[in-house]
Each structure stands twice: as structure tokens, then as C-alpha cells.
């Protein structure tokens, strides 16, 4: 036991068992939890009490910044830095400015969507302790896993392990750091 423990992981045979167990884990008050499944389980967000991502708001913010950047750039170029008369129109000609501003809105929003998603997921992540459990490789094939991290406030090795065994898993593993 000289290795540090990252958390405890339980293995289940079916998605239903995983979701049921996740509900009990949530109800017991654990917060630093995660679930692993070979395919998406729509119920698991609710079962684990995962809150909705703030990503949509970030993307919206990205779009607004892009819009302002697009208009600002054109204002700077056409009005402030190098004013030219084009087609006898005012320097600040909003209709002509809208297409580039619109493109930058999309561009910034898309950048925030992609990189914000990676950031919020903590990616890229070359190392993760869960892979120290040999059977965890089956999470991409036929087995379902539930993890409680040692960082959790109410985590206690003996207590948590006993609790996880009461969930009728196939097995409970120590996940080493």
C-alpha cells in the first residue's frame, strides 16, 4: 500500500446496473465521480447529477466577440487608419461591413466551441490513472465502470469501498495514481 490511490472503480455488466449504481452514488453525496461506457448513455448525466455544460454560453460569448472584432477591424481600417472613399459611400458603411463581421462571428464561435470543448474536458490528456486498472480496457467493448475519486470530500477508503461493494458490482478495483 505504498502507492497513492486515485480512487475506487466498480465494474458492471449492463448499462442499467451502471445507471442504478450511479444514482445511489449520487444520492450518497459523492460529487467527484465519473462513469465509463462503450456507448453514450443518455440517462447517465442525470443519474450522476452532472450539471449542464457552460460551453453554449462560452460559444455565444465567442460569437459576440467575433462580431465586435469584425466590425471593429473594418472601422479601424476604413474609418480610422486609412480612410478611402469607395463608390461615393460613407467611410462607415454598415451593409458592406456585415458579411465580414458575420464571418468572424461564425469563426470565433467555432473556435470557442472546439477549443472550449477540449479545455472543459481537460484534453489533451496523455496520462490518466484509470488505465492502471487492467480490466478498464473493456470499457471500450462490453463492460461499464463507475469511478469515485479519492479527492471527494466524503471519500474514505474503507467506507467507500464497502459502499461500492454494496452496489453489486462484478468487482471493485483500487485505481493507483
Amino acid at each position: 500500500m505504498d502507492k497513492k490511490i486515485y480512487g475506487l472503480m466498480a465494474e458492471f455488466d449492463t448499462p442499467t446496473e451502471l445507471v442504478d449504481a450511479a444514482r445511489q452514488v449520487r444520492d450518497a453525496g459523492y460529487k467527484k465521480t465519473d462513469a465509463f461506457s462503450p456507448f453514450p448513455l443518455h440517462e447517465i448525466d442525470e443519474a450522476l447529477g452532472i450539471r449542464r455544460s457552460i460551453l453554449p454560453f462560452l460559444v455565444f460569448g465567442g460569437g459576440v466577440v467575433g462580431l465586435l472584432a469584425g466590425l471593429g477591424l473594418q472601422w479601424f481600417v476604413h474609418v480610422w487608419d486609412y480612410p478611402l472613399i469607395v463608390g461615393g459611400r460613407p467611410h462607415f458603411s454598415l451593409p458592406a461591413f456585415i458579411p465580414p463581421a458575420y464571418e468572424l462571428t461564425i469563426l470565433f464561435a467555432a473556435f470557442v466551441a472546439v477549443f472550449g470543448m477540449l479545455f472543459l474536458n481537460g484534453l489533451p490528456q496523455p496520462y490518466h490513472p484509470v488505465f492502471n486498472v487492467e480490466r478498464f480496457a473493456l470499457a471500450t467493448r462490453e463492460k461499464f465502470f463507475l469511478l469515485i475519486e479519492a479527492k471527494d470530500e466524503i471519500y474514505d477508503y474503507e467506507e467507500t469501498r464497502k459502499f461500492m461493494e454494496s452496489l453489486n458490482p462484478q468487482e471493485v478495483f483500487d485505481v493507483e495514481e
Binding site: 448525466d45 442525470e46 453554449p56 451593409p95
Partner: protein
Amino acid sequence: MLNASDYQVPADISRWRNLAIGIGGICTVILLAVGLVFPNQIETALRAWLLGFMFACGIGIGGLGILHLQYLTGGAWGVVMRRILEACSRTVLVLALLFIPIAVGVYNLYEWSHINKTDPIVMHRGWYLTWGGFVTRAVIYFALWWVMQYLLNKWSAQQDQSATYEEAATHLGSATAFSGPSLVFFVLIVSFAAIDWTMTLDPHWFSTIWGFLYVAGWSLSCFSFVVVILAYLSDKEPMNRILGKRHFHDIGKLMLALVMVWAYFNFSQFLIIWSGNIPEETPWYLRRMNDGWGWVGLILILFHFAFPYLVLLSRDVKRNAKYLAIMAIFILVLRIVDMFYHIAPSILTTKEYPKFDAFWLLYLIGPLAVGGIWLWAFFGELAKRPLVPIRDPFLEDAIEHGRGH
């Protein structure tokens, strides 16, 4: 397997149907009376009728277009709303009848009917801008729309009678194979119809994107209308067993997309005319940016685009049938304002620009008149078939889709 008898329309739909024909009838009588009592207001009354007709046509014919589209794309949203789209499409004949006042009133409605022997530009359009040409084309449009809806409705009815999965899939295959080529013609017809019926109000002016303004606008009208009907059905037997949050979410996303498409086409038209800045094209916008019409344009930008766009970004709004239906009604009202902006500022047959007076209230009555009669026809058609395509091979999947998170 679902039973057709379990999926009939709720009983209280007949109340709405009576209300619709009541309002539609009264408003039609008001328009007729004004036309008879004030002969110099016939033109305003006809314009109000045209406004109402373009609005109702947008929902009915828009429904025919979306019916094509959902066969091509597939997806749960199309399966759960197919019967509503079919009911919309089966109103083609009623719409053709509602078109009669416009066909009869060409001389009171379109300036080109007065100048097509004298004005060099209109003379150059030759046969195209004559009463005969106008009515012949309208007959062709309605005939082709009728054939499209007849075939799609026929296959859908046969699917309901199918005994086996294979048979049902064959009829679905027929509808899908027909929808692709037919949709191409459909969009062309809508484009021609929009040019005939509203663009020629200003006989010199032209815009090549005009048809697409109507393709986008009518699709948006149709989706908004379907959302209102689905929201009404969703908390009653039998559709509360079918509809789920995700169905509304999907349709809400399509509404959001169409709000943007509408704005995109309108802005494209404006940008091209603005940057070209040539006298053949600018009068249409100059007319609609002065004399207070600029405010109507601003209302369209803010409330036909910006406000619905921001509200529909929200996932919570799209997933809530009630909120989405309120938004849809709001958009439908703005669709009328959009048609108003196209029709009302145009030059009169007396070669004057219309001046604001009390008779402009007719523009409120027109949509109620045509819309009421159309809605009556729609509810009648809706009651004729089960509310879901009971033998559709994808029905189970579509219902399951709605139950997910």
C-alpha cells in the same frame, strides 16, 4: 401496431374550426362590404386580401414543400408532423378558390394591367404581364401543386392500409423517390408564383432572389404553424403518447435555421441592390426606407430576425412546447408584417403612392379573412386521417427519439 381509431383528432378541434370559419366569414364580409360601399377602396380591400392570401398560401403550400423535404431527409421530426403537413398540402384546392378574387381583381390590383400597352418596359414583357398570361400561369401553378399533393397523400393513405412492413416500406419508397425531382419543380413554381403575385406589384422592379425570399419565408411560416398545432395537440390524447421534448427541440432548431435563412436572403437582396446602386433597382428600397416605411423595415430586422434568433438559441425554449409555440405565434405575426412590407407600400393603379388612412385597418382584416377560411379547411383535412402515419416503418424510432433526453 397502432390502430387508426386511436389516433383521431381531439373532439374540441371542431370548436376551433367553427371559430375559424366564423372570424374568416365575418372578415370576408367586411372586405366585400367596404369594396361595395367605397368603390375607390376596392384596391385596398384587394391588397388586404392578397396579403392574407400570401400568408395563408405560405402555410399551406409551405406545408407541401416541407412534406417533400421530410421524405428526403427522414428523421423523427418529419414522421411526427407528417399528417399536419399533409393536411396543409390538401388545402391546395381551397387556396385556388381563395385566389379567385385576385385573378378577377387584376385590373384593380396590379399597375401593369393599366400600362402594358403604353409603358415601353412593361410592353417589352409582352404576354407575360397580361391578364391571360397571369391567370394561365396561376392555373398551372395550382394544377402542379395539386398533382404533387395528390400523389404524396395517395401513397401515405396506402401506407396506412398496408398489412405488412414490406408493403408499408414500398409506399414510403415511392413517396421518397418522387419527392426529390418534385421538390426541384416545387421550388421553381414557388419562385414563379412569388414573382407573379407580389413582385409585379411594382412592374418595373425586379429581384432574382425574390423566389427564395418566399421559399424561406413560407417554410418558416409552415414550421411555425406546425409548432402551434403540435403544441396544442401535445397535452391531449392521443398525441401526448407520441410527442416528446426532443421533437420540439428538433423543430425549434429548424425554425432557428429558417429565421437565419430568411434574414440571409433578405440581406443578400439588400446588399446587392445597395452596392449596385443603379436606378432600375433602388426605387423599391427607397420607397421602403422613407415615409415611415423604414420603421417597418426596422421592426422586421429586430423582430423577424434578431429577437427570434436570440430566443431560439436557448435550448430550454426549444424543448418547451408552450414557449416554442408562443415564439411561433410571434413569428407568424411577423410573417404578416413581412408580407405587409412587400405589398402595402407599392404604387397604386392610380399611379400614386398609397396614403395612410383609416382604411388601412383592412390590412388587419385581410389575414383574418383568408386565414380564417384557410384554417377551417385545414382542420377539416386534419380530421380525415389518423394524426400519425400509423404504419410508417420509422414510426417506432420516431416515438422513441422523443422519449430520450
